[in-house]
């Protein structure tokens, strides 16, 4: 019996010497140590031995198994090393892999999504509305009556006398307020249109507007929100300033500037030498707007803000020509993969 074990072991050693790959090594392991392996089978015959022989043979089988296991694992280590350094390579590992096509959002969409994400994380939800809009929603309800000079601020495309291409996404605010009661916390992203086309204007562009209506909202809160947003979008140390301005639908109204990131505030072409770049319009919702939608301005206050995506996109990527946005040149689009 012991002789048999010795033979098995030496045969195994012989095979181990010869084996040159991991698969072969595994075959050896299975044929000696596996469930039906030589050593395992011998172990099963122990029962037929005398009680004196049993511990001796058993001990020797176990030693043989342990010895073989160790040798196999040693062999495995060396094999693993040598296969990786094999002199005839099967693969040229430097060849590029089989990658699928990679697409991309238009940069405008990327920035729009990013801005929407920031505001949704602050509890705003998205609202939508038509792009061809009634004069009432685009102007009247927003406190811009027909003969008001503020209409000159926006060059409007007309479809008919009382139907326009929306000049801002603010009509969405009106439509949403008509449908829902406060509290209300919405953003309205989308395309807007103004009859203006030159190096700095395209007749179609994208806006995001926000509206928050509740009891006790103040200008101070508006400042807090927008500073937080701008520092998240640009950088934590972005300087932000609020200047009084005029919009018929908010009062007080503000224009919001950020410190120019190109020159650090010393003045350059991007900021036209002022050190500041205008990025947002904002203000407290005008009581007349609340009256127009049936909210009581004595009970509710609110703030609203609006920004142009094209501008944020230009600032983020350093794009210097707004016309590139709508040429859809693949050499442009590919840069935003």
């Amino acid at each position: 019996m012991l002789e048999k074990i010795k033979n098995i072991l030496s045969q195994a050693n012989e095979e181990l010497e010869k084996v040159s790959d991991l698969a072969g090594l595994d075959n050896i392991r299975v044929s000696y140590l596996g469930k039906k392996g030589h050593l395992t089978l011998i172990l099963r015959t122990l029962g037929s031995l005398s009680p004196e022989e049993r511990p001796v043979v058993g001990d020797s089988i176990n030693k043989a198994k342990a010895e073989l296991e160790e040798k196999i694992s040693l062999k495995k280590e060396t094999l693993e090393k040598t296969t990786s350094k094999s002199s005839t390579k099967l693969l040229d590992l430097t060849l590029p892999g089989r990658t699928p096509f990679k697409g991309a959002y238009h940069p405008i969409t990327q920035i729009l999504n990013e801005i929407c994400d920031i505001f949704t994380s602050l509890g705003f939800t998205v609202s939508q509305g038509p792009e061809i809009e009634l004069d009432f929603y685009n102007f009247e309800a927003l406190n811009i009556p027909a003969e008001h000079p503020a209409r000159d601020m926006q060059d409007t495309f007309y479809v008919s006398d009382n139907v326009v291409l929306r000049t801002h996404t603010s009509p969405i605010q009106i439509r949403t307020m008509q449908k829902r009661k406060p509290p209300l916390k919405i953003i309205a992203p989308g395309k807007v249109y103004r009859c203006d086309s030159d190096i700095t204007h395209t007749p179609m562009f994208h806006q995001i507007e926000g509206l928050h209506v509740d009891k006790d909202l103040s200008f101070s809160h508006l400042k807090g929100l927008l500073i937080q947003f701008l520092q998240k979008f640009f950088s934590a140390d972005t300087k932000v300033r609020f200047r009084p301005s005029f919009f018929p639908f908010t009062e007080p109204s503000a224009e919001v500037d950020i410190g120019c990131m190109m020159c650090g505030g010393s003045g350059c072409r991007v900021c036209k030498g002022t050190g500041w770049i205008e990025v947002l319009g904002a203000g407290m919702v005008h009581p007349q707007v609340f009256r127009n939608v049936g909210y009581d301005p004595a009970e509710f206050t609110g703030y609203a803000f609006g920004l142009g995506i094209e501008r944020f996109t230009m600032l983020r990527y350093g794009i210097n020509d707004i016309r590139l946005y709508y040429e859809n040149d693949i050499r442009f689009l590919e840069q935003f993969k």
């Binding site: 699928p100 609202s127 061809i132 003969e147 479809v159 209300l184 249109y193 859809n328």
Partner: protein, 705 residues
């Protein structure tokens, strides 16, 4: 608008630098867009000639008419810095030889549109060049010098904000002024030499018979002051802003005067400005004599009383401002305090502040003068609440997301398009897509119609890129199209479409991929994959009818249906259409209206238990008539409801070697499975073989060897 530093000093003591002044104005709401330095030895003002002056280019918001003059800006600075404001009083000396004994009948027929009309006749006027200081004043703010009379009226307008007009008195028929509505179709030749046709909503200044000026907009050529003029009639008036605006807009005739009148000039400053002009005319235009001021009155706005609650201001601004601090600011702005108790103040703003009509306007003034930079930023205490979602937005963003992840590039095209596209795409007369919405005032013909489908512009994108030798293109657009609604709604139907175009290579350029171009099955597969995200049921493809989509290649396109309603098409674009865009390669496309998917309720999937027994499959290849569609066979097999037949799919389609010309080989994999036990090979064979027999006889097919 431009103002000079020296000009402001006429009204207020200024001892701050030009940069500080610029910063203050900007931070209080009057944005300084530019500062230029002027160094000269020429006398700028009558009294004190400064060696160096600064010109500020201001952007005045449309609510602040009162700031459209040097005086207005100076008054604003006086309020900001809490310094004294001084406006020299003017007295006219009516003693001989200046006195002119003459009076002119002036009447206002529409007293709603004209609040006050002041006329004064000045005789023995010598028309000539203006003095240097006046020329320089105008030049510095970008106004051309014309003659002494016109320059004086301009000077008064820019310095004090009141537009004036001078008529050649001798050319006024009947030596009379009537402020009246124009007669329908009445004509006048304005100072710019153009004939204008008026309507009855417009206010004119007329002599006894004819209009001699369009009120507040522009004077008439017939009564223009020329070098021969001896006597002038000077006009200073207040017109209703809305009326002037309407007229200027209708006539497309904006002027410096109408710009001010339509925003509202100071009703309390008309007479003062007129006096200043007369004084200058007498001083400058050589030995003139002047009549008394002849005034006709209409309905001039009256001062209002408005309640102001300091508590409301604190709430809106969100700052702890003291009552007296706020009241002091309002007082500095010229607002009168009529009375007050503990919680309420009754205030009366000056008439020049047309923008102050309710309480919030006081709050704005306070916040502005306090300075936005002095209001602390805080965060609202918002209650937690869940708001409804916007289904259309989700639809749009998920469509973009899927297509981007399929390796496509998103394009964004203008919503307005070239009317030629509809023609190029051969859209038929009965197609709703031909019925486009036109803009009344487009930027150009090429951008004059709202798009009714996305494909033409995305094909234009291909054309653009091919011009730069970019031929492998995978583009998508998700956006709105605008369909004229036959219903009563004044607004069109806005559909959200997703469109894809593929052209050129099927795989990215690589050493390992085959060099093949995209084909029909690429676009069809993409459409199937895309649609599956929106609905797993109810989607059908039907062979396209060519009259529906005349721009798609016959026999190479499908119509897409969702719950039996057509939502789009897919396939190859007809080369005849592509020729119009100089595209000679194959282009595959789909376009789908996503709107029908917007009301799909949130559908949560239910878990299906895993099959407990293995699947047994049999592959069989049939040789069939070439024109037989694979769908027909699959439907035939499925409709038999064979027991244990779990599903079937096509694993091979072959034509060519060893297959007769008008035949094809179709390989189908049949998967058999039972929920209760493991099927045996022999029982599967029995079921399968009898099924095969039926297929063979039904379709007159043969088995492939």
């Amino acid at each position: 608008m431009k103002v000079s530093y020296s000009g402001l000093k006429e009204f207020i003591p200024l001892n701050i630098s030009e940069t500080e002044l610029s910063y203050s104005l900007t931070m209080k709401g009057i944005e300084v867009e530019d500062i230029s330095v002027i160094e000269h030895e020429v006398i700028l003002t009558v009294d004190k000639p400064p060696a160096k002056d600064y010109i500020f280019e201001l952007s005045v918001t449309p609510n602040r008419m009162d700031c459209l003059s040097f005086m207005g800006i100076a008054r604003e600075l006086a309020a900001i810095y809490d310094i004294s404001f001084h406006n020299k009083k003017i007295e006219i000396d009516y003693k001989e030889p200046y006195k002119l004994n003459l009076t002119v009948p002036i009447s206002i027929q529409n007293s709603d549109l004209c609040g006050i009309y002041v006329g004064v006749v000045i005789d023995k006027v010598k028309i000539g060049q203006s003095p240097e200081w006046l020329k320089k004043f105008l030049e510095n703010i970008g106004v051309r010098s014309i003659n002494n009379v016109v320059d004086i009226t301009n000077y008064i307008m820019f310095q004090w904000g009141q537009p004036l007009h001078a008529f050649d008195f001798d050319k006024l028929e009947g030596h009379e002024i009537i402020v009246r509505n124009a007669r329908e179709g009445e004509k006048i030749k304005t100072l710019d030499g153009k004939e204008r046709i008026l309507d009855s909503s417009m206010l004119v200044i007329a002599d006894k018979y004819n209009p001699v000026g369009i009120a507040g907009v522009m004077g008439g050529e017939s009564s223009e002051v020329t070098t021969d003029t001896k006597t002038i009639l000077l006009e200073a008036a207040w017109f209703l802003p809305q009326s002037i605006r309407k007229t200027a807009k209708k006539l497309k005739l904006p002027s410096e005067a109408s710009h001010r009148f339509e925003r509202g000039v100071d009703p309390e400053g008309v007479m003062d400005a007129c006096k200043r002009a007369v004084k200058l005319l007498c001083d400058i235009c050589g030995g003139a004599q002047t009549s008394q001021f002849i005034t006709a009155n209409g309905n001039l706005p009256k001062r209002k009383r408005i309640i102001f609650k300091p508590e409301k201001a604190r709430k809106i601004i969100g700052a702890k401002l003291k009552d007296n601090e706020m009241i002091n600011i309002l007082r500095r702005l010229g607002i009168d305090i009529i009375s007050h108790d503990i919680d309420n103040f009754i205030l009366s703003p000056p008439l020049r502040r047309f923008d102050i009509t309710e309480e919030i306007d006081f709050i704005e003034e306070i916040s502005r003068i306090v300075g936005f930079e002095n209001i602390q930023a805080t965060y609202p205490k918002t209650p937690v609440f869940i708001q409804p979602e916007e289904p259309l937005y989700k639809l749009e963003t998920s469509a973009k997301d899927i297509l981007k992840n399929l390796g496509l590039f998103q394009v964004i095209n203008y919503s307005f398009t070239n009317p030629k596209n509809i023609k190029n795409f051969a859209v038929s007369e009965s197609d709703k897509r031909i019925n486009t919405i036109s803009l009344q005032n487009p930027i150009s013909y090429e951008q004059s119609e709202m798009r009714t489908f996305l494909l033409p512009q995305i094909v234009e994108n291909i054309q653009h890129n091919i011009a730069f030798n970019k031929r492998d293109l995978r583009l998508f657009e998700v956006g709105k199209v605008f369909i004229k609604d036959d219903n009563t709604s004044p607004l069109p139907l806005e559909e959200i479409h997703a469109a894809v175009v593929l052209t050129g290579r099927k795989y990215p350029p690589s050493w390992t991929y085959p060099n093949e171009n995209v084909d029909f099955y690429d676009i069809k597969g993409m459409a199937e994959y895309f649609l599956n995200f929106f609905s797993e049921t109810g989607i059908e493809f039907m062979e396209g009818n060519n009259t529906d989509e005349p721009f798609m290649l016959a026999d190479a396109h499908l119509d897409i249906f969702y719950n039996n309603i057509k939502i789009g098409y897919l396939g190859e674009i007809s080369p005849n259409i592509l020729k119009n865009y100089d595209i000679l390669t194959k282009v595959f496309a789909f376009e789908i209206n996503l709107l029908p998917f917007s009301d799909i309720n949130k559908h949560y999937k239910r878990f299906q238990p895993l099959p407990r027994f293995p699947n047994i499959s049999r592959d069989t290849a049939f040789i069939l008539d070439f024109n037989l569609s694979s769908q027909e066979i699959l439907i035939y097999i499925l409709q038999k409801n064979i027991e244990f037949l779990n599903n079937i799919d096509i694993f091979d389609v072959y034509t060519g070697k060893n297959i007769e010309k008008d035949k094809k080989s179709l390989g189908i994999r049949f998967n058999y499975m039972s929920d209760e036990r493991t099927l045996t090979d022999s029982e599967v064979d029995e079921i399968h073989n009898s099924l095969i027999e039926e297929v063979l006889s039904k379709f007159d097919a043969k088995l492939r060897d």
